[in-house]
């Protein structure tokens, strides 16, 4: 009896011995991952909190000696000629984001209704091949897009940027809406049709309310895409009053000596809305991905 218990204890102890290197290793890996993920963010804070002109040097202290929020104040108060139009540019970023969101949701929900609910046969081909757009190298679309915008007098026009962002957002949006639509029974549509509703009424009164969660997810995706996209905004918008915050950050690089602490503060202020949105909606943002994996 005692011999068995002792053997069991010894086996458990042996197992514990075999396990502690694994536990230690995973703890070390966790620590390394933490440093790896946070280091560039920490570097941004370090530069932004520096009181004079953005000293990028690391003095060995984990926290700067005299952290100062002055650069954030300068950004919010537009207190430097680089930051003159900050609030206007912030507004432009929002304006482009919200327009992209609204147009994406409207166009994609209409298309997904026709393809997924009304079963417009050939259109499925259209929505699927549109995804190939994502395999085209960026320059192959950006160069002709900008040239054509210039030719049609759309250069330095916010709407040209919105058109570009909507084009990138909708193929994915239609796909997600189509997939989400498969869990809503078609009988709802049929019942409404029997009661005499026109296709548009079915779309408006049945489809849209039932699709609300997916529409919200797709809208958020479009908003974040337009907020974070940079190439088209940089190439298309040329006057400072039409710039977005993304372009405003880039202009600091045009000078050799710029107040880098202001630039980092601007970059942090610019990053906060998407990070807040991402973490608030993390469940929904990651659901699409993991769903893809699980179906495998």
């Amino acid at each position: 009896m005692t011999a068995v218990a002792a053997a069991r204890r010894r086996a458990a102890a042996r197992r514990r011995w075999r396990r502690w290197p694994v536990a230690l290793g995973s703890a070390l890996l966790g620590l390394a991952l933490l440093c790896w993920s946070l280091l560039p963010v920490y570097n941004m804070l370090l530069i932004a909190l520096d009181p004079d002109e953005g000293d990028v040097e690391f003095a060995g202290a984990i926290w700067p000696d005299e952290p100062s929020l002055n650069s954030f104040r300068a950004v919010l108060a537009q207190d430097h000629w680089y930051l003159e139009d900050f609030w206007r540019q912030f507004g432009n970023s929002f304006y482009i984001g919200l327009l992209t969101m609204a147009l994406t949701v409207a166009v994609a929900s209409l298309a997904s209704f026709a393809v997924g609910r009304m079963r417009l046969a050939k259109a499925r081909l259209l929505t699927n091949t549109a995804l190939l757009v994502y395999a085209v190298p960026a320059a192959l679309l950006a160069i002709p897009f900008v040239r054509l915008c210039q030719r049609y007098g759309l250069a330095d026009n916010v709407w040209a940027v919105v058109a570009a962002e909507v084009t990138f957002a909708i193929p994915f949006a239609v796909l997600v809406l189509q997939q989400y639509g498969t869990i809503i029974p078609l009988e709802f549509d049929e019942a409404a049709r029997i009661d005499g509703a026109s296709p548009f009424q079915v779309y408006w009164h049945v489809y849209l309310p039932l699709m609300a969660p997916a529409l919200a997810a797709v809208g958020t995706y479009a908003l974040l895409l337009a907020w974070g996209e940079y190439v088209y905004q940089y190439l298309l918008l040329s006057s400072p009053r039409n710039w977005t915050v993304a372009v405003a950050i880039e202009q600091f690089f045009d000078a050799d000596e710029a107040p880098w602490n202001y630039m980092m503060a601007l970059a942090i202020v610019y990053a906060l809305p998407p990070i807040a949105t991402f973490y608030a909606l993390r469940r929904y943002m990651t659901a699409g991905l993991t769903m893809g994996g699980i179906k495998g």
Binding site: V41, P137, A138, L141, T167, W260, L289
Partner: protein, 303 residues
């Protein structure tokens, strides 16, 4: 366009459930409504994607452009850099994602909060992330070199003084930004593998390595290959990382095709040459896309 933000776009569709559609033929008013609903979508795609791409192909159709391209010494360098960036970058990133996905499926209490922190690079927009990398690595006074000096007394190299070194920095910055995303996809793939398989193997005495080789590899293999091909395609078209981290330094030695064609088109005012540089990547990209499509189909058949 080929920004990995769009990975969101492909993966669910690619791996999603396929439904065989019934085809009740639409008639009259029904058909008119359905067509009207699709028209805005078709217009946007035609006007802002198909038309510009067709215009690009027309612009880059002149063979003389390619002769000029090959005579520019910057072009072969950019081509080699793109191949290395895409090939090495995608494989390193996906292998790291494979290992990390195993780590993040561990059932310890602190793994979930750690995952939340590790998603930060993905949540951060690309510009602040890459700008921060640029400042971390620049000169002898950047964060990394001063930290190396302060902590270990090591004199770090000038990161942007050699082409391959600055390209390496671009790759690291790119991997930093997108690793969480691919890790999450592979975590999803691993969660789909039934736990009983591992338990059965455990009872039969299979160790960690054999469980990985005989269960994880065959079941995750196709997803892994699809993701690697996708990542390579996206990296090959990526503009932002190289533009913001090394900016082609020194003297365009770390340029990739995307930044070089942008440079031709907008700094030198030669849009046709820029398009030609981008088009010259297609002989490699198109087979990759075809392989990808086949893989995706193979996967659908397995389902």
């Amino acid at each position: 366009m080929s920004s990995p933000q769009h990975a969101l776009a492909l993966v669910p569709g690619v791996l999603g459930r396929r439904r065989v559609p019934r085809h009740p033929h639409l008639h009259g008013a029904e058909l008119a409504w359905a067509v009207a609903f699709v028209v805005p979508y078709a217009t946007v795609i035609a006007a802002f994607a198909v038309y510009p791409i067709a215009y690009a192909v027309w612009l880059g159709g002149n063979p003389a452009l390619y002769a000029e391209l090959f005579s520019d010494p910057a072009y072969p360098v950019a081509m080699a850099n793109t191949a290395f960036f895409a090939g090495f970058g995608a494989n390193t990133m996906m292998f790291a994602a494979l290992l990390l996905s195993g780590f993040f499926t561990r059932r310890q209490r602190w793994v979930k909060p750690l995952l939340a922190v590790c998603l930060l690079p993905w949540a951060l927009p690309a510009i602040p992330a890459f700008v921060s990398f640029h400042w971390m690595l620049i000169g002898e006074y950047g964060f990394l070199n001063s930290a190396l000096w302060q902590l270990f007394g090591i004199d770090g190299p000038q990161w942007f003084n050699q082409g391959w070194l600055s390209l390496g920095c671009d790759i690291i910055a790119y991997v930093w930004k997108w690793l969480p995303f691919w890790t999450l996809i592979l975590v999803g793939g691993r969660m789909a593998i039934p736990q009983e398989l591992y338990e059965a193997a455990d009872i039969d005495g299979a160790g960690v390595v054999r469980r990985f080789l005989h269960i994880t590899v065959p079941l995750l293999g196709n997803l892994y290959l699809i993701c690697t091909a996708l990542a390579a395609i996206w990296i090959a078209g990526d503009f932002t990382a190289v533009e913001l981290v090394s900016n082609g330094a020194p003297a365009r030695a770390s340029d990739v095709l995307a930044t070089l064609s942008e440079h031709y088109a907008f700094d030198s005012g030669r849009p046709a040459l820029g398009v030609a540089a981008a088009l010259s990547a297609l002989p490699v990209l198109i087979p990759l896309v075809i392989v990808l499509m086949r893989r995706i189909e193979a996967r659908a058949v397995q389902l």
